[in-house]
C-alpha cells in the first residue's frame, strides 16, 4: 500500500490506542467476566463463576424474546431495503444539487435518536394529533382512534430508523454503477424493467446484502421503539437487557444477554464480509 514505514510514527498511535483499550476493550472484558458473576440482591454483583445466567437462555421466556426480536428485525430490514434500493438508484441519477439537499435531509433523519423517532411516530399515530384525526376529518372513520401502540406502528418506527442507513450503504454503490451497462442491455432489446432485473440487480447484490444485514443488526439493536410504539409482548432483546440492568438490577444476566446479542451481530457482520469477498473474488 504505502512504502513509508518509519518507527517515528508510533507515538502518534499511542494516545488513541490507550484510549480505546482502556475505555472499550476493558469494558468488554469486564462485561464478559460479569456475565459469569453472581447477582447480589439490592446491590450490583459479586465475583463468581456461574453458568446460570447463560442457562436461562434455554427457557421458553428467552426463546420467545429471541423469536420476537429476530422476526421484527428481519421484517423491517426487508421492507427498508426494498424501498431504499430504488430510492437510492433514482436519487443517484438526479441533479447534484437535488441529491445534496435530499442527502442532507436523510442525514438529519439518521441523526435522530430512537427517543425522537418514537415520540414523533406515537404523536403521528395518536388520537388527538395526526392520522387518527385526519381519517376522522375526511370521514373515513366515525370517531378518531389511536393507531399506537401496536405491531404496525412498531414496524413503521423500525423502518424509519433503518431507512437512512440502507441509503447510506446503497447510494455510494449505485452512484458508481456504470450507466452504460443497462443502456447496452436496453439497446439489445431488453425492456427497462428487464435490463434493471438482469443487469443492474446482480451487480448490486453485494451492497444489497450488506444493507440487509446492516439494517437487520441495527433494528435488532433497537431498545426504545419497542417500548414506545409496541406492546410488552413486542419487547425485544435490548429492551430486556436494559430492563434487567436498570430496573431488575440483574447486571450479570443483562451482561450474558448482551454477550449473546454481540455474538449474533458479529456473526452476521462476519457473514456479510464473507459473502462480499466471495462475490468480489468471483467477479474478478
Amino acid at each position: 500500500m504505502n512504502p513509508r514505514r518509519e518507527p517515528a510514527l508510533w507515538p502518534l498511535a499511542l494516545f488513541p490506542c490507550a484510549a480505546l483499550t482502556v475505555f472499550f476493550v476493558f469494558p468488554f472484558a469486564i462485561m464478559l467476566a460479569v456475565s459469569f458473576h453472581r447477582r447480589v440482591e439490592g446491590g450490583f454483583f459479586e465475583p463468581a463463576f456461574e453458568l446460570s445466567n447463560y442457562l436461562r437462555f434455554l427457557t421458553p421466556f428467552f426463546g420467545k424474546i429471541l423469536a420476537t426480536s429476530i422476526g421484527l428485525a428481519a421484517t423491517a430490514a426487508i421492507i427498508v431495503v426494498v424501498a431504499a434500493f430504488p430510492f437510492s438508484y433514482i436519487l443517484s441519477r438526479m441533479r447534484r444539487r437535488a441529491q445534496s439537499v435530499i442527502l442532507v435531509f436523510i442525514l438529519s433523519v439518521l441523526s435522530l435518536s430512537e427517543v425522537i423517532i418514537g415520540f414523533a411516530w406515537s404523536t403521528l399515530l395518536s388520537r388527538t394529533a395526526g392520522v387518527g384525526n385526519l381519517f376522522h376529518w375526511i370521514g373515513l372513520v366515525e370517531t378518531p382512534r389511536a393507531y399506537t401502540p401496536g405491531l404496525v406502528s412498531l414496524l413503521l418506527g423500525l423502518v424509519y430508523l433503518g431507512f437512512p442507513y440502507a441509503v447510506l450503504v446503497i447510494y455510494p454503490a449505485v452512484s458508481r454503477l456504470d450507466r452504460e451497462l443497462p443502456e447496452a442491455a436496453r439497446m439489445s432489446g431488453a425492456s427497462p424493467l428487464r435490463a434493471f432485473a438482469s443487469v443492474t440487480l446482480p451487480i448490486m447484490r453485494r451492497s444489497i446484502t450488506g444493507a440487509l444485514i446492516l439494517v437487520f443488526v441495527f433494528t435488532l439493536g433497537a431498545y426504545l421503539l419497542p417500548q414506545v410504539l409496541g406492546r410488552p409482548r413486542h419487547w425485544t432483546l435490548p429492551v430486556h437487557i436494559t430492563d434487567q440492568a436498570i430496573f431488575q438490577s440483574n447486571i450479570p444476566f443483562a451482561a450474558a444477554m448482551a454477550m449473546f446479542l454481540l455474538l449474533v451481530s458479529l456473526a452476521l457482520v462476519g457473514l456479510s464480509l464473507i459473502v462480499g469477498n466471495e462475490r468480489q473474488g468471483a467477479s474478478t
Partner: protein
C-alpha cells in the same frame, strides 16, 4: 420506469420521512399544554419554556456540554489514529481502524452495558465525566471515517516534494496535510456532536439519573406527562442537524463524502 413514476416514488418516501416531523412541528406550537394536531392556536412559548423550566434547561446544558466535549475528545482520538493508519498501512492499520469503528458498529445497548459495568468498576457511575468519555469512544468512528476519507484525497507526491525540500514530518503535517483535511476534521467533529446530542441509551445507562440529557428528559416525559416542550426539542434537533449537515454539504461535496465518485458529475 418513467420519470414521473420515479419522482412520485421519491416524493412518497420523502412524505413518509417528513410526516412525523411535520406533525411534531405542529404540536410544538400549541397554545394549551396538550399535544394537538392541527394545533390549537399558535404560540412559541414552549420554545422559551425549554430555556426557562429548570429540569429542561438543566438537561439542555448537560446535553450541550457532553456533546461539545465528547466531540472534541472523539477528534483527539480519531485524528492521530487516522494519520497513523494512513501513513503506515498494512494489516495492523486495518485492525486499528476496525477497533476505532467497533464501538459505533456494535448494537448500542451492548456498548452501553459495557460502559456501565466499566464505570461501576472504576467508581464513576453516575458522573457526567462517564457520559462524556463514553460518548467520545462511541463516536470516534465518525471523525475516523471522515478524516480517513479526507486523507485519501491527499496526493502523496505533494508530501514527497515537501520532504525532499527539507521539511520535517511536523512541518509537512502543519503546512500541507492539515489544511487539506481540515474540512473533513470539521465534518467529523460536527457529526459526532449531532449524534451525541441525540444519543440516549449510553447516556441513560452510565448516568441517566444524575446527568440527565435532553433525550432522557423526553423519554421520561413520554412516561410521566406529555408537554409540547418535547416537540419543541425534537424540532430544534432536526433543525440543528439540517443546518449542520447543510453547512457540510455547502462547504464540501456531500455526495463525495457519502462515497459517490467525483468524476460522475452530470
Amino acid at each position: 420506469m418513467t420519470l414521473l413514476l420515479q419522482r412520485g416514488f421519491i416524493g412518497a418516501v420523502l412524505v413518509f420521512l417528513v410526516a412525523p416531523l411535520f406533525v411534531v412541528a405542529g404540536v410544538s406550537v400549541n397554545r394549551p399544554k396538550r399535544l394537538l394536531f392541527p394545533p390549537d392556536g399558535f404560540s412559541l412559548k414552549w420554545y422559551i419554556e425549554l430555556f426557562v423550566q429548570n429540569e429542561w434547561a438543566n438537561a439542555l446544558t448537560n446535553s450541550v456540554i457532553i456533546a461539545m466535549l465528547a466531540g472534541l475528545l472523539a477528534v483527539a482520538v480519531a485524528l492521530p489514529l487516522a494519520l497513523f493508519i494512513w501513513s503506515r498501512g498494512g494489516l495492523l492499520a486495518r485492525a486499528l481502524f476496525g477497533l476505532g469503528i467497533a464501538p459505533f458498529m456494535l448494537p448500542p445497548v451492548v456498548s452501553a452495558l459495557g460502559f456501565l459495568v466499566f464505570w461501576i468498576s472504576v467508581g464513576l457511575y453516575g458522573n457526567i465525566l462517564a457520559t462524556i468519555v463514553s460518548h467520545a469512544i462511541f463516536l470516534t468512528a465518525l471523525p475516523l471515517v471522515a478524516i480517513s476519507l479526507g486523507l485519501e484525497e491527499v496526493e502523496r507526491p505533494l508530501i514527497e516534494a515537501a520532504r525532499t525540500m527539507g521539511a520535517d514530518r511536523r512541518t509537512v503535517f502543519r503546512t500541507v496535510v492539515f489544511p487539506l483535511i481540515r474540512p473533513y476534521v470539521i465534518s467529523g467533529f460536527v457529526f459526532a456532536v449531532v449524534l451525541s446530542l441525540n444519543e440516549y441509551i449510553i447516556a441513560y445507562m452510565v448516568a441517566g439519573f444524575t446527568a440527565e440529557t435532553l433525550p432522557i428528559r423526553i423519554f421520561n416525559s413520554l412516561r410521566y406527562g406529555y408537554t409540547p416542550i418535547m416537540a419543541a426539542v425534537a424540532v430544534l434537533f432536526v433543525l440543528t442537524a439540517a443546518v449542520v449537515f447543510g453547512a457540510v454539504a455547502f462547504l464540501g461535496d456531500l455526495p463525495r463524502l457519502f462515497g459517490a465518485h467525483r468524476s460522475e458529475e452530470p
